[in-house]
Protein backbone atom coordinates (compact mmCIF):
# COMPACT_ATOMS: atom_id res chain seq x y z
CA UNK A 1 0.00 0.00 0.00
CA UNK A 2 2.67 2.59 0.89
CA UNK A 3 4.25 1.83 -2.47
CA UNK A 4 0.95 2.56 -4.21
CA UNK A 5 0.76 5.80 -2.24
CA UNK A 6 4.28 6.78 -3.32
CA UNK A 7 3.41 6.10 -6.94
CA UNK A 8 0.34 8.29 -6.61
CA UNK A 9 2.39 11.08 -5.03
CA UNK A 10 4.78 11.00 -7.93
CA UNK A 11 1.88 11.11 -10.35
CA UNK A 12 0.45 14.12 -8.53
CA UNK A 13 3.79 15.93 -8.66
CA UNK A 14 4.12 15.31 -12.37
CA UNK A 15 0.52 16.37 -12.82
CA UNK A 16 1.26 19.66 -11.07
CA UNK A 17 4.16 20.29 -13.44
CA UNK A 18 2.02 19.58 -16.48
CA UNK A 19 -0.68 21.77 -14.99
CA UNK A 20 1.72 24.70 -14.84
CA UNK A 21 2.04 24.59 -18.62
CA UNK A 22 -1.73 24.44 -19.11
CA UNK A 23 -2.02 27.37 -16.75
CA UNK A 24 0.51 29.37 -18.77
CA UNK A 25 -1.51 28.97 -21.95
CA UNK A 26 -4.76 29.73 -20.17
CA UNK A 27 -3.20 32.86 -18.69
CA UNK A 28 -2.79 34.36 -22.15
CA UNK A 29 -6.49 33.83 -22.83
CA UNK A 30 -7.52 35.41 -19.54
CA UNK A 31 -5.40 38.53 -20.05
CA UNK A 32 -6.93 39.39 -23.41
CA UNK A 33 -10.44 38.34 -22.42
CA UNK A 34 -10.39 40.48 -19.30
CA UNK A 35 -9.13 43.61 -20.98
CA UNK A 36 -11.06 43.53 -24.22
CA UNK A 37 -13.77 40.87 -23.99
CA UNK A 38 -12.18 39.07 -26.91
CA UNK A 39 -11.84 35.32 -26.68
CA UNK A 40 -8.56 34.91 -28.49
CA UNK A 41 -8.68 31.64 -30.36
CA UNK A 42 -5.23 32.42 -31.74
CA UNK A 43 -3.50 32.17 -28.35
CA UNK A 44 -2.20 28.66 -29.06
CA UNK A 45 -0.97 29.65 -32.50
CA UNK A 46 0.72 32.65 -30.93
CA UNK A 47 2.67 30.26 -28.70
CA UNK A 48 3.63 28.26 -31.77
CA UNK A 49 4.55 31.37 -33.73
CA UNK A 50 6.65 32.69 -30.84
CA UNK A 51 8.49 29.38 -30.46
CA UNK A 52 9.09 29.16 -34.22
CA UNK A 53 10.43 32.69 -34.30
CA UNK A 54 12.68 32.01 -31.34
CA UNK A 55 14.16 28.89 -32.92
CA UNK A 56 14.47 30.67 -36.26
CA UNK A 57 16.36 33.59 -34.76
CA UNK A 58 18.60 31.36 -32.63
CA UNK A 59 19.57 29.21 -35.61
CA UNK A 60 20.08 32.22 -37.85
CA UNK A 61 17.42 31.03 -40.27
CA UNK A 62 16.52 33.42 -43.09
CA UNK A 63 12.83 34.30 -42.74
CA UNK A 64 10.68 33.54 -45.81
CA UNK A 65 13.64 31.68 -47.31
CA UNK A 66 11.44 29.33 -49.35
CA UNK A 67 9.54 32.24 -50.81
CA UNK A 68 12.71 34.21 -51.56
CA UNK A 69 14.38 31.21 -53.15
CA UNK A 70 11.31 30.44 -55.25
CA UNK A 71 11.07 33.98 -56.57
CA UNK A 72 14.73 34.81 -57.13
CA UNK A 73 16.06 31.33 -57.78
CA UNK A 74 18.57 31.72 -54.96
CA UNK A 75 19.59 29.06 -52.48
CA UNK A 76 19.79 30.85 -49.15
CA UNK A 77 18.58 29.26 -45.95
CA UNK A 78 20.84 30.43 -43.17
CA UNK A 79 22.64 33.60 -42.25
CA UNK A 80 25.35 31.38 -40.91
CA UNK A 81 25.32 32.68 -37.35
CA UNK A 82 23.90 31.55 -34.05
CA UNK A 83 22.24 34.02 -31.75
CA UNK A 84 22.59 33.46 -27.99
CA UNK A 85 19.34 32.37 -26.33
CA UNK A 86 18.83 35.47 -24.21
CA UNK A 87 19.29 37.88 -27.12
CA UNK A 88 17.04 35.73 -29.29
CA UNK A 89 14.35 35.81 -26.62
CA UNK A 90 14.55 39.60 -26.48
CA UNK A 91 14.27 39.82 -30.27
CA UNK A 92 11.29 37.45 -30.22
CA UNK A 93 9.60 39.63 -27.63
CA UNK A 94 10.10 42.50 -30.06
CA UNK A 95 8.44 40.47 -32.81
CA UNK A 96 5.50 39.69 -30.52
CA UNK A 97 5.07 43.38 -29.74
CA UNK A 98 5.03 44.20 -33.44
CA UNK A 99 2.49 41.42 -33.92
CA UNK A 100 0.34 42.90 -31.13
CA UNK A 101 0.47 46.29 -32.80
CA UNK A 102 -0.42 44.85 -36.20
CA UNK A 103 -3.34 42.85 -34.79
CA UNK A 104 -4.68 45.98 -33.18
CA UNK A 105 -4.03 48.24 -36.14
CA UNK A 106 -5.32 46.01 -38.92
CA UNK A 107 -8.01 43.94 -37.25
CA UNK A 108 -9.50 45.15 -34.01
CA UNK A 109 -9.38 48.88 -34.64
CA UNK A 110 -11.93 48.30 -37.38
CA UNK A 111 -14.14 46.21 -35.16
CA UNK A 112 -14.73 48.66 -32.31
CA UNK A 113 -18.07 48.05 -30.60
CA UNK A 114 -18.90 44.99 -32.65
CA UNK A 115 -20.56 41.83 -31.41
CA UNK A 116 -18.32 39.47 -29.37
CA UNK A 117 -19.00 36.68 -31.84
CA UNK A 118 -17.57 38.82 -34.65
CA UNK A 119 -14.44 39.50 -32.63
CA UNK A 120 -14.14 35.78 -31.93
CA UNK A 121 -14.44 34.98 -35.64
CA UNK A 122 -11.72 37.51 -36.33
CA UNK A 123 -9.39 35.67 -33.94
CA UNK A 124 -10.12 32.37 -35.72
CA UNK A 125 -9.08 34.06 -38.95
CA UNK A 126 -6.01 35.39 -37.18
CA UNK A 127 -5.12 31.89 -35.96
CA UNK A 128 -5.11 30.42 -39.46
CA UNK A 129 -3.34 33.42 -40.91
CA UNK A 130 -0.63 33.26 -38.26
CA UNK A 131 -0.19 29.54 -38.73
CA UNK A 132 0.30 30.13 -42.45
CA UNK A 133 2.72 32.99 -41.90
CA UNK A 134 4.69 30.91 -39.38
CA UNK A 135 4.95 28.13 -41.93
CA UNK A 136 5.99 30.47 -44.72
CA UNK A 137 8.47 32.35 -42.57
CA UNK A 138 10.27 29.53 -40.83
CA UNK A 139 9.35 26.30 -42.66
CA UNK A 140 7.19 23.45 -41.45
CA UNK A 141 9.77 20.93 -40.22
CA UNK A 142 9.93 19.92 -36.57
CA UNK A 143 12.62 21.91 -34.78
CA UNK A 144 14.56 21.36 -31.63
CA UNK A 145 14.40 24.17 -29.12
CA UNK A 146 17.08 24.43 -26.49
CA UNK A 147 17.42 27.69 -24.62
CA UNK A 148 19.77 26.16 -22.05
CA UNK A 149 17.19 25.04 -19.51
CA UNK A 150 18.31 21.97 -17.57
CA UNK A 151 16.83 18.77 -19.01
CA UNK A 152 16.41 15.21 -17.81
CA UNK A 153 15.69 13.59 -14.50
CA UNK A 154 16.51 15.57 -11.39
CA UNK A 155 19.11 13.40 -9.66
CA UNK A 156 18.94 15.17 -6.34
CA UNK A 157 15.21 14.51 -5.92
CA UNK A 158 15.68 10.97 -7.16
CA UNK A 159 18.44 10.21 -4.66
CA UNK A 160 16.90 12.04 -1.70
CA UNK A 161 13.50 10.43 -2.06
CA UNK A 162 15.10 7.04 -2.60
CA UNK A 163 17.00 7.38 0.64
CA UNK A 164 13.94 8.60 2.50
CA UNK A 165 11.22 6.31 1.14
CA UNK A 166 13.13 3.60 -0.65
CA UNK A 167 11.56 4.82 -3.88
CA UNK A 168 13.08 7.54 -6.10
CA UNK A 169 10.72 10.09 -7.61
CA UNK A 170 11.27 10.79 -11.31
CA UNK A 171 10.82 14.50 -11.87
CA UNK A 172 12.03 16.29 -14.98
CA UNK A 173 14.34 19.26 -14.47
CA UNK A 174 12.51 21.02 -17.28
CA UNK A 175 9.24 20.79 -15.38
CA UNK A 176 10.88 22.29 -12.33
CA UNK A 177 12.26 25.22 -14.27
CA UNK A 178 8.89 25.68 -16.00
CA UNK A 179 7.25 25.93 -12.60
CA UNK A 180 9.79 28.45 -11.34
CA UNK A 181 9.48 30.56 -14.49
CA UNK A 182 5.69 30.43 -14.28
CA UNK A 183 5.71 31.54 -10.65
CA UNK A 184 7.98 34.48 -11.47
CA UNK A 185 5.86 35.39 -14.47
CA UNK A 186 2.60 35.35 -12.55
CA UNK A 187 4.16 37.32 -9.69
CA UNK A 188 5.42 39.93 -12.12
CA UNK A 189 2.03 40.17 -13.84
CA UNK A 190 0.18 40.63 -10.57
CA UNK A 191 2.66 43.25 -9.38
CA UNK A 192 2.33 45.05 -12.71
CA UNK A 193 -1.44 45.16 -12.66
CA UNK A 194 -1.73 46.12 -8.99
CA UNK A 195 1.01 48.64 -8.49
CA UNK A 196 1.72 50.47 -11.73
CA UNK A 197 -0.12 53.24 -13.50
CA UNK A 198 -0.48 51.25 -16.72
CA UNK A 199 -1.58 48.20 -14.75
CA UNK A 200 -4.27 50.23 -13.07
CA UNK A 201 -5.34 51.59 -16.44
CA UNK A 202 -5.48 48.03 -17.71
CA UNK A 203 -7.84 46.98 -14.93
CA UNK A 204 -9.89 50.12 -15.50
CA UNK A 205 -10.30 49.22 -19.17
CA UNK A 206 -11.29 45.70 -18.16
CA UNK A 207 -14.05 47.14 -15.96
CA UNK A 208 -15.52 49.80 -18.22
CA UNK A 209 -14.28 50.79 -21.69
CA UNK A 210 -16.32 53.95 -21.96
CA UNK A 211 -15.34 55.28 -18.57
CA UNK A 212 -11.69 54.49 -19.29
CA UNK A 213 -11.95 56.48 -22.52
CA UNK A 214 -13.58 59.35 -20.68
CA UNK A 215 -10.65 59.78 -18.28
CA UNK A 216 -8.23 59.84 -21.18
CA UNK A 217 -6.94 56.28 -21.21
CA UNK A 218 -6.13 55.28 -24.76
CA UNK A 219 -7.87 51.98 -25.42
CA UNK A 220 -5.70 51.45 -28.44
CA UNK A 221 -2.53 51.64 -26.37
CA UNK A 222 -3.90 49.42 -23.59
CA UNK A 223 -4.98 46.78 -26.08
CA UNK A 224 -1.60 46.76 -27.76
CA UNK A 225 -0.08 46.42 -24.30
CA UNK A 226 -2.36 43.51 -23.43
CA UNK A 227 -1.71 41.69 -26.68
CA UNK A 228 2.02 42.21 -26.17
CA UNK A 229 1.85 40.73 -22.68
CA UNK A 230 -0.25 37.85 -24.01
CA UNK A 231 2.36 37.42 -26.74
CA UNK A 232 5.07 37.28 -24.09
CA UNK A 233 3.13 34.71 -22.07
CA UNK A 234 2.65 32.74 -25.28
CA UNK A 235 6.40 32.88 -25.85
CA UNK A 236 7.11 31.49 -22.39
CA UNK A 237 4.55 28.73 -22.92
CA UNK A 238 6.03 28.07 -26.37
CA UNK A 239 9.54 27.77 -24.94
CA UNK A 240 8.43 25.28 -22.31
CA UNK A 241 6.35 23.12 -24.62
CA UNK A 242 8.89 23.44 -27.39
CA UNK A 243 11.73 22.35 -25.12
CA UNK A 244 9.64 19.40 -24.00
CA UNK A 245 8.35 18.04 -27.26
CA UNK A 246 10.00 20.02 -30.05
CA UNK A 247 8.57 22.94 -31.98
CA UNK A 248 5.95 21.57 -34.33
CA UNK A 249 2.59 22.63 -35.61
CA UNK A 250 0.67 20.48 -33.16
CA UNK A 251 1.85 22.99 -30.56
CA UNK A 252 -1.02 25.24 -31.58
CA UNK A 253 -3.43 22.57 -30.34
CA UNK A 254 -2.43 23.15 -26.72
CA UNK A 255 -4.94 25.98 -26.92
CA UNK A 256 -7.63 23.31 -26.88
CA UNK A 257 -6.27 22.02 -23.57
CA UNK A 258 -6.54 25.52 -22.20
CA UNK A 259 -10.31 25.61 -22.80
CA UNK A 260 -11.26 23.20 -20.01
CA UNK A 261 -8.79 25.03 -17.78
CA UNK A 262 -10.65 28.26 -18.46
CA UNK A 263 -14.04 26.70 -17.83
CA UNK A 264 -12.77 25.43 -14.53
CA UNK A 265 -11.01 28.55 -13.39
CA UNK A 266 -13.24 31.19 -14.95
CA UNK A 267 -12.45 33.29 -18.00
CA UNK A 268 -11.69 36.45 -16.08
CA UNK A 269 -9.45 35.31 -13.27
CA UNK A 270 -5.67 35.03 -13.27
CA UNK A 271 -5.60 32.89 -10.09
CA UNK A 272 -8.40 30.88 -11.71
CA UNK A 273 -6.25 30.09 -14.73
CA UNK A 274 -3.47 28.86 -12.48
CA UNK A 275 -5.60 26.79 -10.11
CA UNK A 276 -7.64 25.48 -13.06
CA UNK A 277 -4.45 24.45 -14.85
CA UNK A 278 -3.15 22.64 -11.79
CA UNK A 279 -6.45 20.85 -11.18
CA UNK A 280 -6.61 19.67 -14.77
CA UNK A 281 -2.96 18.64 -14.75
CA UNK A 282 -3.19 16.67 -11.51
CA UNK A 283 -6.70 15.42 -12.26
CA UNK A 284 -5.91 13.89 -15.61
CA UNK A 285 -2.69 12.25 -14.42
CA UNK A 286 -4.28 10.86 -11.29
CA UNK A 287 -7.39 9.69 -13.15
CA UNK A 288 -5.21 7.90 -15.66
CA UNK A 289 -3.25 6.29 -12.84
CA UNK A 290 -6.20 5.21 -10.71
CA UNK A 291 -9.12 4.69 -13.09
CA UNK A 292 -7.24 4.36 -16.37
CA UNK A 293 -6.36 0.67 -16.02
CA UNK A 294 -10.03 -0.19 -15.39
CA UNK A 295 -11.29 1.44 -18.60
CA UNK A 296 -8.39 0.55 -20.83
CA UNK A 297 -6.33 3.74 -20.47
CA UNK A 298 -6.02 6.79 -22.73
CA UNK A 299 -8.19 8.82 -20.37
CA UNK A 300 -5.91 11.85 -20.59
CA UNK A 301 -7.44 12.80 -23.92
CA UNK A 302 -10.94 13.29 -22.64
CA UNK A 303 -10.76 13.67 -18.86
CA UNK A 304 -10.26 17.45 -18.92
CA UNK A 305 -13.24 18.03 -21.20
CA UNK A 306 -15.58 15.88 -19.14
CA UNK A 307 -14.49 17.69 -16.01
CA UNK A 308 -15.13 21.02 -17.75
CA UNK A 309 -18.59 19.86 -18.80
CA UNK A 310 -19.45 18.96 -15.23
CA UNK A 311 -18.31 22.40 -14.15
CA UNK A 312 -20.40 24.07 -16.84
CA UNK A 313 -23.47 22.39 -15.42
CA UNK A 314 -22.89 23.19 -11.76
CA UNK A 315 -20.80 26.35 -11.75
CA UNK A 316 -20.85 28.02 -15.15
CA UNK A 317 -18.76 31.03 -14.10
CA UNK A 318 -15.92 28.73 -13.02
CA UNK A 319 -14.22 28.51 -9.66
CA UNK A 320 -12.93 32.06 -9.63
CA UNK A 321 -15.22 33.65 -12.23
CA UNK A 322 -15.88 37.27 -11.55
CA UNK A 323 -18.69 37.95 -9.18
CA UNK A 324 -20.94 40.32 -11.00
CA UNK A 325 -21.43 43.34 -8.82
CA UNK A 326 -24.96 44.52 -9.34
CA UNK A 327 -26.45 47.43 -7.49
CA UNK A 328 -30.16 48.05 -7.64
Amino acid sequence: MPEQFLFATEVVLNGLMAGVLYALVALGFVLIYKASGIFNYAQGVMALFAALTLVGIMDGQVPFSHLINAIFGTEIHHFGWHVPALLAILLTIGVMVVLAWAVQRFIFRHLVNQEPILLFMATIGLAYFLEGVGDLMWGSDIKKLDVGLPQGINDWIDVTTFEAFGYGFFIDNLDISATIVAIILVGALIAFSQYTKQGRALRAVADDHQAALSVGISLNFIWILVWSIAGFVALVAGIMWGAKSGVQFSLSLIALKALPVLMLGGFTSIPGAIVGGLIIGVGEKLFEFLIGPMVGGATENWFAYVLALIFLVFRPQGLFGEKIIERV
Partner: protein, 278 residues
Protein backbone atom coordinates in the same frame (compact mmCIF):
# COMPACT_ATOMS: atom_id res chain seq x y z
CA UNK B 1 -7.46 73.65 -11.26
CA UNK B 2 -5.17 76.51 -10.32
CA UNK B 3 -4.46 77.37 -13.94
CA UNK B 4 -8.13 78.02 -14.44
CA UNK B 5 -8.28 80.41 -11.51
CA UNK B 6 -5.68 82.76 -12.94
CA UNK B 7 -7.44 82.93 -16.28
CA UNK B 8 -10.73 83.63 -14.63
CA UNK B 9 -10.53 87.41 -14.91
CA UNK B 10 -13.00 87.82 -17.76
CA UNK B 11 -16.12 85.80 -16.94
CA UNK B 12 -17.83 86.52 -20.25
CA UNK B 13 -15.09 84.84 -22.26
CA UNK B 14 -16.31 81.86 -24.25
CA UNK B 15 -14.47 78.63 -23.55
CA UNK B 16 -16.44 76.18 -25.59
CA UNK B 17 -18.44 76.92 -28.67
CA UNK B 18 -20.72 74.41 -30.34
CA UNK B 19 -21.80 75.67 -33.72
CA UNK B 20 -24.85 74.16 -35.39
CA UNK B 21 -23.81 70.51 -35.11
CA UNK B 22 -25.60 67.54 -36.51
CA UNK B 23 -24.86 64.07 -35.11
CA UNK B 24 -25.66 60.78 -36.78
CA UNK B 25 -25.34 57.34 -35.13
CA UNK B 26 -24.53 54.27 -37.21
CA UNK B 27 -24.75 56.36 -40.41
CA UNK B 28 -28.55 56.48 -40.21
CA UNK B 29 -29.96 57.75 -36.93
CA UNK B 30 -30.05 61.53 -36.82
CA UNK B 31 -29.90 62.59 -33.18
CA UNK B 32 -28.85 66.24 -33.17
CA UNK B 33 -30.36 68.51 -35.79
CA UNK B 34 -28.36 71.67 -35.45
CA UNK B 35 -27.38 72.41 -31.87
CA UNK B 36 -25.50 75.59 -31.03
CA UNK B 37 -24.35 76.68 -27.62
CA UNK B 38 -21.61 78.49 -25.78
CA UNK B 39 -20.01 77.78 -22.44
CA UNK B 40 -18.60 80.81 -20.67
CA UNK B 41 -15.36 80.53 -18.77
CA UNK B 42 -15.92 80.15 -15.04
CA UNK B 43 -19.64 79.54 -15.42
CA UNK B 44 -22.09 76.71 -14.91
CA UNK B 45 -24.07 76.17 -18.09
CA UNK B 46 -27.07 73.86 -17.94
CA UNK B 47 -28.35 71.78 -20.80
CA UNK B 48 -31.94 70.86 -20.09
CA UNK B 49 -34.53 68.68 -21.72
CA UNK B 50 -36.33 65.39 -21.47
CA UNK B 51 -35.28 61.87 -22.38
CA UNK B 52 -33.85 61.57 -25.86
CA UNK B 53 -33.56 65.32 -26.35
CA UNK B 54 -29.88 64.99 -27.22
CA UNK B 55 -28.18 66.22 -24.06
CA UNK B 56 -25.84 63.28 -23.66
CA UNK B 57 -25.04 63.23 -27.36
CA UNK B 58 -24.11 66.90 -27.24
CA UNK B 59 -21.73 66.30 -24.34
CA UNK B 60 -20.19 63.29 -26.06
CA UNK B 61 -19.74 65.28 -29.24
CA UNK B 62 -17.68 67.76 -27.25
CA UNK B 63 -15.59 65.17 -25.36
CA UNK B 64 -15.22 63.11 -28.55
CA UNK B 65 -16.60 59.98 -26.93
CA UNK B 66 -19.09 59.66 -29.79
CA UNK B 67 -16.68 57.82 -31.97
CA UNK B 68 -16.55 54.71 -29.82
CA UNK B 69 -20.34 54.48 -30.07
CA UNK B 70 -20.36 54.69 -33.84
CA UNK B 71 -21.66 58.23 -33.83
CA UNK B 72 -20.18 61.15 -35.73
CA UNK B 73 -20.58 64.87 -36.11
CA UNK B 74 -21.62 65.31 -39.74
CA UNK B 75 -22.25 69.06 -39.85
CA UNK B 76 -21.22 72.10 -37.90
CA UNK B 77 -18.19 72.56 -35.71
CA UNK B 78 -17.08 72.51 -32.10
CA UNK B 79 -14.23 74.61 -30.85
CA UNK B 80 -12.55 74.81 -27.48
CA UNK B 81 -10.53 77.94 -26.78
CA UNK B 82 -10.73 78.67 -30.48
CA UNK B 83 -9.25 75.31 -31.56
CA UNK B 84 -11.37 72.86 -33.53
CA UNK B 85 -12.17 69.76 -31.51
CA UNK B 86 -12.83 67.47 -34.47
CA UNK B 87 -10.12 64.87 -34.99
CA UNK B 88 -8.89 64.91 -31.40
CA UNK B 89 -9.40 61.79 -29.32
CA UNK B 90 -10.83 61.80 -25.78
CA UNK B 91 -7.34 61.65 -24.29
CA UNK B 92 -6.36 64.84 -26.14
CA UNK B 93 -9.46 66.55 -24.80
CA UNK B 94 -8.60 65.50 -21.25
CA UNK B 95 -5.10 66.90 -21.73
CA UNK B 96 -6.67 70.17 -22.90
CA UNK B 97 -8.72 70.30 -19.74
CA UNK B 98 -12.09 68.98 -20.91
CA UNK B 99 -13.32 65.86 -19.16
CA UNK B 100 -16.69 64.19 -19.12
CA UNK B 101 -18.41 62.59 -16.15
CA UNK B 102 -20.74 60.15 -17.76
CA UNK B 103 -24.36 59.51 -17.04
CA UNK B 104 -24.82 56.67 -14.57
CA UNK B 105 -21.47 57.31 -12.86
CA UNK B 106 -19.48 54.58 -14.60
CA UNK B 107 -17.02 53.97 -11.79
CA UNK B 108 -14.56 51.15 -12.25
CA UNK B 109 -16.40 48.66 -10.09
CA UNK B 110 -13.57 46.30 -9.21
CA UNK B 111 -11.10 49.06 -8.42
CA UNK B 112 -11.04 50.69 -5.00
CA UNK B 113 -12.33 54.23 -4.62
CA UNK B 114 -8.79 55.54 -4.39
CA UNK B 115 -7.67 53.61 -7.45
CA UNK B 116 -10.67 55.04 -9.28
CA UNK B 117 -9.55 58.53 -8.38
CA UNK B 118 -5.99 57.77 -9.45
CA UNK B 119 -7.10 56.69 -12.92
CA UNK B 120 -8.27 60.28 -13.37
CA UNK B 121 -4.64 61.37 -13.25
CA UNK B 122 -3.71 59.00 -16.10
CA UNK B 123 -2.93 61.72 -18.64
CA UNK B 124 -0.91 63.85 -16.23
CA UNK B 125 2.83 64.01 -16.35
CA UNK B 126 3.52 66.44 -13.51
CA UNK B 127 4.82 63.96 -10.98
CA UNK B 128 3.60 61.96 -8.01
CA UNK B 129 3.77 64.89 -5.58
CA UNK B 130 1.30 67.02 -7.51
CA UNK B 131 -1.05 64.08 -8.00
CA UNK B 132 -0.94 63.22 -4.29
CA UNK B 133 -1.70 66.84 -3.41
CA UNK B 134 -4.72 66.82 -5.71
CA UNK B 135 -5.89 63.55 -4.19
CA UNK B 136 -5.92 65.22 -0.79
CA UNK B 137 -7.83 68.14 -2.28
CA UNK B 138 -10.46 65.81 -3.72
CA UNK B 139 -10.79 64.22 -0.28
CA UNK B 140 -11.41 67.63 1.29
CA UNK B 141 -14.29 68.23 -1.13
CA UNK B 142 -15.60 64.68 -0.71
CA UNK B 143 -14.77 63.58 2.86
CA UNK B 144 -17.00 60.54 2.37
CA UNK B 145 -14.67 59.22 -0.30
CA UNK B 146 -11.78 59.33 2.13
CA UNK B 147 -13.69 57.12 4.54
CA UNK B 148 -14.32 54.62 1.77
CA UNK B 149 -11.00 54.88 -0.04
CA UNK B 150 -10.19 51.17 0.22
CA UNK B 151 -13.66 49.83 -0.66
CA UNK B 152 -14.36 48.48 -4.10
CA UNK B 153 -16.27 51.18 -5.93
CA UNK B 154 -18.93 48.68 -7.01
CA UNK B 155 -19.98 48.24 -3.40
CA UNK B 156 -20.37 51.93 -2.56
CA UNK B 157 -23.70 53.75 -2.65
CA UNK B 158 -25.07 55.64 -5.64
CA UNK B 159 -24.18 58.99 -4.11
CA UNK B 160 -20.65 57.87 -3.30
CA UNK B 161 -20.24 56.59 -6.84
CA UNK B 162 -21.33 59.94 -8.22
CA UNK B 163 -18.82 61.67 -5.94
CA UNK B 164 -16.19 59.17 -7.01
CA UNK B 165 -16.88 59.90 -10.67
CA UNK B 166 -16.67 63.67 -10.14
CA UNK B 167 -13.56 63.29 -7.97
CA UNK B 168 -11.96 61.12 -10.65
CA UNK B 169 -12.59 63.85 -13.22
CA UNK B 170 -11.07 66.43 -10.85
CA UNK B 171 -7.87 64.39 -10.66
CA UNK B 172 -7.17 65.31 -14.28
CA UNK B 173 -6.97 69.01 -13.30
CA UNK B 174 -9.79 69.97 -15.60
CA UNK B 175 -10.76 73.41 -16.78
CA UNK B 176 -14.19 72.30 -17.92
CA UNK B 177 -16.20 69.35 -16.65
CA UNK B 178 -18.99 67.97 -18.80
CA UNK B 179 -21.32 66.61 -16.15
CA UNK B 180 -24.02 64.30 -17.40
CA UNK B 181 -27.12 63.82 -15.28
CA UNK B 182 -25.55 63.99 -11.80
CA UNK B 183 -28.95 63.73 -10.09
CA UNK B 184 -29.88 60.44 -11.70
CA UNK B 185 -31.27 57.96 -9.20
CA UNK B 186 -30.21 59.95 -6.14
CA UNK B 187 -32.26 61.07 -3.16
CA UNK B 188 -33.16 64.81 -3.23
CA UNK B 189 -30.90 65.49 -0.25
CA UNK B 190 -27.91 63.94 -2.03
CA UNK B 191 -28.73 65.87 -5.19
CA UNK B 192 -28.52 69.09 -3.18
CA UNK B 193 -25.21 67.98 -1.66
CA UNK B 194 -23.69 67.16 -5.03
CA UNK B 195 -24.87 70.35 -6.67
CA UNK B 196 -23.53 72.27 -3.68
CA UNK B 197 -20.11 70.72 -4.29
CA UNK B 198 -20.37 71.56 -7.98
CA UNK B 199 -20.99 75.19 -7.05
CA UNK B 200 -18.05 75.12 -4.62
CA UNK B 201 -15.75 73.72 -7.28
CA UNK B 202 -16.94 76.36 -9.68
CA UNK B 203 -16.43 79.24 -7.26
CA UNK B 204 -13.27 78.12 -5.44
CA UNK B 205 -11.44 76.16 -8.10
CA UNK B 206 -12.71 78.07 -11.12
CA UNK B 207 -13.84 74.92 -12.92
CA UNK B 208 -16.40 75.60 -15.64
CA UNK B 209 -19.30 73.19 -15.99
CA UNK B 210 -21.52 72.11 -18.84
CA UNK B 211 -24.26 70.26 -17.07
CA UNK B 212 -26.85 68.02 -18.71
CA UNK B 213 -29.80 67.55 -16.43
CA UNK B 214 -33.42 66.45 -16.48
CA UNK B 215 -34.05 67.92 -13.09
CA UNK B 216 -34.74 71.44 -14.40
CA UNK B 217 -35.62 72.83 -11.02
CA UNK B 218 -32.32 72.03 -9.34
CA UNK B 219 -30.21 72.75 -12.41
CA UNK B 220 -31.63 76.24 -12.88
CA UNK B 221 -31.02 77.09 -9.25
CA UNK B 222 -27.32 76.34 -9.51
CA UNK B 223 -26.54 77.22 -13.14
CA UNK B 224 -25.77 80.65 -14.55
CA UNK B 225 -27.05 80.05 -18.04
CA UNK B 226 -29.34 77.44 -19.54
CA UNK B 227 -30.20 75.87 -22.87
CA UNK B 228 -33.36 73.85 -23.43
CA UNK B 229 -33.09 71.02 -25.89
CA UNK B 230 -35.93 69.16 -27.56
CA UNK B 231 -35.68 66.46 -30.19
CA UNK B 232 -32.15 67.42 -31.09
CA UNK B 233 -32.69 71.18 -31.32
CA UNK B 234 -32.16 74.07 -28.95
CA UNK B 235 -35.61 75.54 -28.42
CA UNK B 236 -34.81 78.20 -25.85
CA UNK B 237 -31.85 79.68 -24.02
CA UNK B 238 -31.12 82.42 -21.56
CA UNK B 239 -29.66 83.27 -18.14
CA UNK B 240 -30.84 80.77 -15.56
CA UNK B 241 -32.68 83.39 -13.52
CA UNK B 242 -34.72 84.41 -16.55
CA UNK B 243 -35.49 80.85 -17.57
CA UNK B 244 -36.73 80.19 -14.07
CA UNK B 245 -39.25 82.98 -14.41
CA UNK B 246 -40.27 82.17 -17.96
CA UNK B 247 -43.95 81.08 -17.95
CA UNK B 248 -43.40 78.34 -20.56
CA UNK B 249 -40.48 76.85 -18.70
CA UNK B 250 -42.47 77.07 -15.52
CA UNK B 251 -45.36 75.28 -17.08
CA UNK B 252 -43.59 72.57 -19.04
CA UNK B 253 -40.38 71.91 -17.15
CA UNK B 254 -41.03 73.01 -13.63
CA UNK B 255 -44.61 71.80 -13.59
CA UNK B 256 -46.17 74.97 -12.20
CA UNK B 257 -48.51 77.39 -13.94
CA UNK B 258 -50.94 80.14 -13.07
CA UNK B 259 -53.59 77.57 -12.24
CA UNK B 260 -51.19 75.83 -9.89
CA UNK B 261 -49.54 72.46 -10.27
CA UNK B 262 -50.48 70.50 -13.37
CA UNK B 263 -50.96 66.82 -13.74
CA UNK B 264 -48.62 64.96 -16.05
CA UNK B 265 -51.46 64.37 -18.49
CA UNK B 266 -51.65 68.06 -19.32
CA UNK B 267 -47.96 68.58 -19.83
CA UNK B 268 -47.20 68.87 -23.51
CA UNK B 269 -43.83 69.36 -25.03
CA UNK B 270 -42.68 72.90 -25.36
CA UNK B 271 -42.03 72.70 -29.06
CA UNK B 272 -45.45 71.38 -29.92
CA UNK B 273 -47.09 74.25 -28.14
CA UNK B 274 -44.79 76.71 -29.85
CA UNK B 275 -45.86 75.41 -33.23
CA UNK B 276 -49.47 75.55 -32.23
CA UNK B 277 -49.13 79.14 -31.05
CA UNK B 278 -47.34 80.50 -34.05
Amino acid sequence: MEAAVTQNQDPAKTLLEVNNIEVIYNHVILVLKGVSLKVAEGGITALLGGNGAGKTTTLKAVSNLLHSERGEVTKGSISYRGDAVAGLDPADMVKRGVIQVMEGRHCFEHLTVEENLMTGAYTRGDGRGAVAADLEKVYTYFPRLKERRTSQAGYTSGGEQQMCAIGRALMSRPETILLDEPSMGLAPQLVEEIFGIVRDLNEKEGVSFLLAEQNTNVALRFAHYGYILESGRVVMDGPAAELRENPDVKEFYLGVSEEGRKSFRDVRSYRRRKRWLS
